[in-house]
Each structure stands twice: as C-alpha cells, then as structure tokens.
Symmetry: C2
DNA sequence: TGACATATATCGTTGATCTATATATAATGC
DNA sequence: GCATTATATATAGATCAACGATATATGTCA
C-alpha cells in the first residue's frame, strides 16, 4: 500500500472484498477503483493483489472466470461467493470495532464514560 | 494484540505513545491501561510491548528510568521525548487519514462527493 | 523500434506481532 | 514450608502480510 504501510495489515482483503460485494471486477480494475475511491490514498500493488485473490479463491470466498476484452489480454474477473459475503460482513464488523477502539484511546481515554 | 490480529500492524506504537503523551508509565501499567481504555478490546502482550519500548528508546523517542515500587520488582518508567511527541503527532495524523480512507471505501465509494 | 499502459503472475525479503520461555519478587493457598 | 498466582521485565524463534523486483504478453503511440 502506501501512506504508512504499517496501518495496512489485514485491511486489504477487507477493501478488495468490499469492491467485489458490489460487482465482479478484474484485478487491474480493483487497483484503479481503490485508488479512485480513496481519493488517491490507497495504491494497491499488483504483487500484493494477485496472491491475495488466489488465497481468497482457495478459501472459497471468490470464484474466477476469464472474459475477452475488446483489446489486450483476456481479463480474469472475480466474483464474491455467498461464503465470501459472509466473511466480508464479519471483517467489516471487526474493522469497525477496531477503528472505534483506536479512536477512543486517541481521543484521550482518561475518562471513559460507561454506557 | 487480539480481536483480529490483522488490523493491528503499526497501531501499537501509536497507542503506546498516546499513553506516554499524557504521563510517564511503566510497561505493565501500559498493558492494563490500554485494556481499560479500549473497553477490553486491546490485549497488548508483554512479548510485544517490551521489544517495542526498546526500539522506541533506540530511536530517541522515549527515555527510561527505574524507580522502586512499595513492593515487588523496581519499575522501569518510560518518558516521551520532544522528538517522540513530534513522531506521535505524525503517526496520529497518518492514522486518521488512513482510517478515514478505509471508512470512505466501506461506506460505498461508488459516488464520491468532491469537496 | 522502443517506450509505455494494460493485465496477470511469482519469488525472495522485510518486519511487526505472536507464542513460548526465562527471570525475580510478593501475596495467597494448602 | 512449598506451590501457585499476580506483578514486572526480558529475549528468542516462528508466522505471515505486504513489499519490491521481476517476468510474461498484448496494444498503442511516437
């Protein structure tokens, strides 16, 4: 990724699965889409994405199919399975809990209001 | 850490430095404090914290001094230097940018409002 | 012809975090 | 008295996500 590479860990699958939750995409497209949606904050590397997609496929979270493009190499589209969608929801919830907790500490947790 | 260990990377130094930005603490205390402030979300491990503190010391971001406790082993307190405070502010800004970008993508970035 | 964008893919390295283990002291239980 | 647990610090080895580098093939543009 970029920015500060040390905030990244684990959130890349989350972001990629979010894109696939909306519609099928091919790899290169995900890189561009992620860059666009994050206002140029995320620069996902090909060397990071493709192995990730293969690992998602092994887990049964995505399936892949090839389709010819009007020009250039055929594109490999990825589709999020039902299992993948469930995994995504879980990851999303976990991220929200995590980000909230970090925010809470950074806010100056000295006083933490109960409920 | 815990929760989902794959959201953690890089945020531990941030959280630890946040605690030290308020006052000097010893290691064991940081573990307890972080757990408390995050409502039991963060379970920082001793094997993670102490090597981290040593690396912060090497960078000149913290200094350490020993002080006797009323009982038990003497405690090693850590103090955030001016340099450390500057580094913390930077990390905090980077985290906020990162978390915001993730949130933006998760919100359903199809339409991204300019400005 | 060479450079560049598109598009997918693999390999070796780095490095943050984890688990396991070690030390020492004080309090608690048997 | 002796074992266990909590306090407190510390190191070593393993894991694994992400990185950079590299390889491939095609199409476009100069």
């Amino acid at each position: 990724m970029d920015l500060d590479r040390h905030f990244v860990s684990g959130s890349i699958p989350l972001l990629v699965m979010k894109l696939l939750d909306e519609k099928d995409l091919y790899g290169y497209q995900m890189i561009e889409e992620l860059r666009r949606r994050s206002d140029d904050t995320f620069h996902l590397r090909a060397g990071t994405l493709y192995p990730l997609l293969h690992s998602l496929e092994e887990k049964g979270w995505v399936t892949a199919y090839e389709r010819e493009a009007s020009a250039g190499k055929p594109r490999r589209y990825y589709h999020l399975t039902e299992q993948g969608r469930a995994a995504f929801r879980e990851k999303e919830t976990a991220w929200n809990a995590y980000a909230r907790a970090v925010g809470q500490v950074l806010k100056g947790g000295a006083c933490h209001a109960g409920a």
